[in-house]
Structures are given as C-alpha cells and as structure tokens.
Symmetry: C2
Subunit: 237 residues, 2 copies
Amino acid sequence: MKASVVMIEPNGHFCSDCGVRGSAVCSSLDPAELREFEHLGRRVHFSSGETVFSEEDITTSFYNVLDGVMRLYKLLPDGRRQIVGFALPGDFLGMNLSGRHNFSADAIGAVIVCQFAKTPFGRFIEDRPQLLRRINELAIRELGQARDHMVLLGRRSADEKVAAFLLGWRERLLALKGPSDTVPLPMSRQDIADYLGLTIETVSRTFTKLERHGAIEIIHGGISLLDPARVEALAAA
Amino acid sequence: MKASVVMIEPNGHFCSDCGVRGSAVCSSLDPAELREFEHLGRRVHFSSGETVFSEEDITTSFYNVLDGVMRLYKLLPDGRRQIVGFALPGDFLGMNLSGRHNFSADAIGAVIVCQFAKTPFGRFIEDRPQLLRRINELAIRELGQARDHMVLLGRRSADEKVAAFLLGWRERLLALKGPSDTVPLPMSRQDIADYLGLTIETVSRTFTKLERHGAIEIIHGGISLLDPARVEALAAA
DNA sequence: GGCCAAAATTGATCTGGGTCAATCGCGTTT
DNA sequence: AAACGCGATTGACCCAGATCAATTTTGGCC
C-alpha cells in the first residue's frame, strides 16, 4: 500500500510532554534546545498498512516513532521479502549514506511519527555533537541487533527462531510497557515468517507445537508465556 | 586460537604514509590533527588464525585494519558459528555500547592493525565532531550491509548465496586492488559456509556446479569469473 | 446477525540442503 | 620419496522445513 498522509499536526504539540522524550534521539537535548527542536518536527499519523517510506525513495525526512509499530523490510525482485526489524516508539529511522532509504517501512496498525525534514535537521545536528553522539549510539545498538539477527537467520532451527523471537519481542516491550508474560503480537504470521526466514505455515505449526507442550498459550492478538524457562531453553541462548 | 601479539611498533610509523589514510576513519582529519593522532595508535601484527579480540572481552581498544583480512563472527553455545562479516584494510572495529565487543575477530592470514586505547581515543574524538561524523558514516554503511546480508541469509537459495558472495567479495576488493575477474578467496570453505548460513559441502558442490556450467573457474586460492553476467543472473539481484 | 474476504491452521507430500562417510589433492615432515 | 595431515571434493542418504491444498477461524460491514 502506498503512503497517504492522513493527518498533520504542524503545531500544537510539545516535545516536553512527548511520550518518547526520554528514550529517543531527543533525550540528548537540554530544555532550551528542545524548544528549538520542536519547530523542526511534525507529527504525522499513518493508518494500518500504509507505507511510510520505500526502499528506493530519495531520503527527504528522518522519522522518530512516537506511537505504534512498523515493519522494516527489503524485497527481492521476485517478491520475496525479508523483514529486517520492527520499529517501536523511540526508534529513529532514515539514517543513510546514499541519499536513499535502504529499506521500506510500513505501519502495522495506527502509527504516529515525528517527521523531520532532512536539511534543517542536518543543520541542527551540525553544531550539536551530543545529538550526533546519540544518533551514533542508536546506530551502534542497531548494528548489534542486526548481527544477532544474522546468527538467528543463518544458524538457528525453526523452533529456536520462533522461541528467540517471542523472548526478544517481550524484551523490547519490557522497556515500553513493563514486564509481562502476556506478549501482544500486532504483526501478522506472514510478518513473523518474513522476519525469521521461515514460511507462514512453519510459524503457525511451531506456535501450535509450543502450545501443545504447555510452553505458551495462543491468545487473541498475541501469546501468553506459560513456561518462560521452557521457551528460553528452546531458544538455546 | 587465542591471540598473542607477535610484534609491536610503538613508533617509527607515520599516518601520513599509511596505506588506508584515504579511506579509514582518519580520512576526516587534517594534517595537524593527524600528527597528534599518530601518537594514539600502535601498529600490531597478528599471524594467521590468531584472535584479535573475543565477543565476551571487555573493550579496551579500537582497531583500524591496515593490512590483511579478518573474519568477524559470533558463536552459539553449542559451537555453531555465524560469520557476520569480513574486515578489510580501512575497516574500523570495536565500536560498541555495552563495553564489550559483541563479536569475535580472527586474522585470516597475516594482519596488521592500528590499535587505539579506548580512553585516549574517546578523548580525542570528544572535540572533533568530524571524526565522530566519519565513525557514524562507517556505522551506517555497515548497518546497510548487515541488512543486505539478512536478506541473503533469510531469503536466498544456496546458489544465490554463493553467487552473491562471489560478486560482493569482488566488489569489496575492487576498491582495494582495482577491477579484476580473478577473485582471491583467502578464507576457507568453512568460513564461506559460516558466512552464508550453509555447510562446507554445499559451498563446495555449488562451486563445482558453477564451474561445470562454465560460469567460474576454481583456481588455487580463489576463483576466476569466466562469465560474470551468468553469475550475476544467478545472484538474482 | 449473516455474509464475505483475509488470515490462520492443519494435513499430505516434496525437496533443497544437511548429514554421514569416503576419497582426493597437496603441502609438510621426516 | 614415503608418510602424514588437513582442507576440499564427491557420493549416498535423510530430514527439517517448504510447497501445495483444504479447511477453519477471525474480522469487518451491511
């Protein structure tokens, strides 16, 4: 689905009471800088399935996810898809060298992003090395996650992939929603399959198997970890 | 194999005539800075198979590869290995958040690195945002490569993986050694297999198949691309 | 509530690539 | 030059996960 901006709020919002204030790029700014920064970003809403940007697009903006979940993916010419990550509130998207995004991003459910035009944002960074340092920090963290995911894709079995995914997703939600053994899965089985390098059928079968063994319970819109230790053992961390 | 430093040259070298001067992190420094920078780094030699640093090690140094090839990899507890990349001259290693390397690095053949102690290097960066920007640039490039590799690991067939590897490796050597259809492969078949998420047997069979079809010729220490177009078609870019 | 479309599950079967097991090639040692 | 060792190749067989094919479940939407 191609993007169509649903709603723009050019003003009337304040970084100071933004939900991701503490974790996002902007956490590196002091209150005075924050007021200036406020004028650079616009909140933009996307509805479920909309494309925020595409792989081949020229980068004109950076994005800070404020609310919702996005899938980040690359497509092969024949349509095979690899999801390279899911973006959650606080994640920063759009950094690149070539001037083009090198992956595509869709909203999974309703999403709100804070959108920055490339040029003014670049100027703002110019004389604020602590913001650059923060962006570098986020890039390095992502690089670590990317390497972990390579291990999963290249060297783990289907059971291990699914178990590791459930634990990893719970871990990511921990920071946002607090600890819980009930893990919401807003993405489809196809999304999970494309993230893990599996087919939808294998993901479904593995979920069912885990449920039969009493390790999880498949619930509406997610799963419940009945036996986290069992799932951890399967993930073979 | 555990690392043992073979040789140290604490002085007597100059950044200004360093082979990677133009491409490495130091390309962002002016001549005056370079003279100061010179005192931060030490050239260290490693011989074939030696480990430069390990995943679990606390980071005490950053490294700039000056000569040779390294394999960067992660191990699962049961010994399965995923090579997350190969490092070549000009590559910068050691960036991390946790204070620990999150992968291990071995020399493939003889290697020379420029080693920087973490703390003084951090201080040097402090008031040189253009160096930080350069490091950020390298991190973002690596992130793009990591995402491409995820697509390969998760969604490509064995034939495609091998073909894409040969072309990708040739591409990386292009910047260092100039264009050539003779592609040296200093790494073992096991290394290639662990990079592509395959077994050594599958890599070997795929090479043989490509050779039978006249696309490549297997030569001592590498391969020769007889029909690059054919290999590109197989890689299904 | 009833209808339709899309998503998820389940089953049957197939196959790409893994596993196991020789064998080969070649550089090194004695 | 014979013996050794190790990486690479090749062959035979197997199996985890893909593919193909029905259902079944879910979620809008009149």
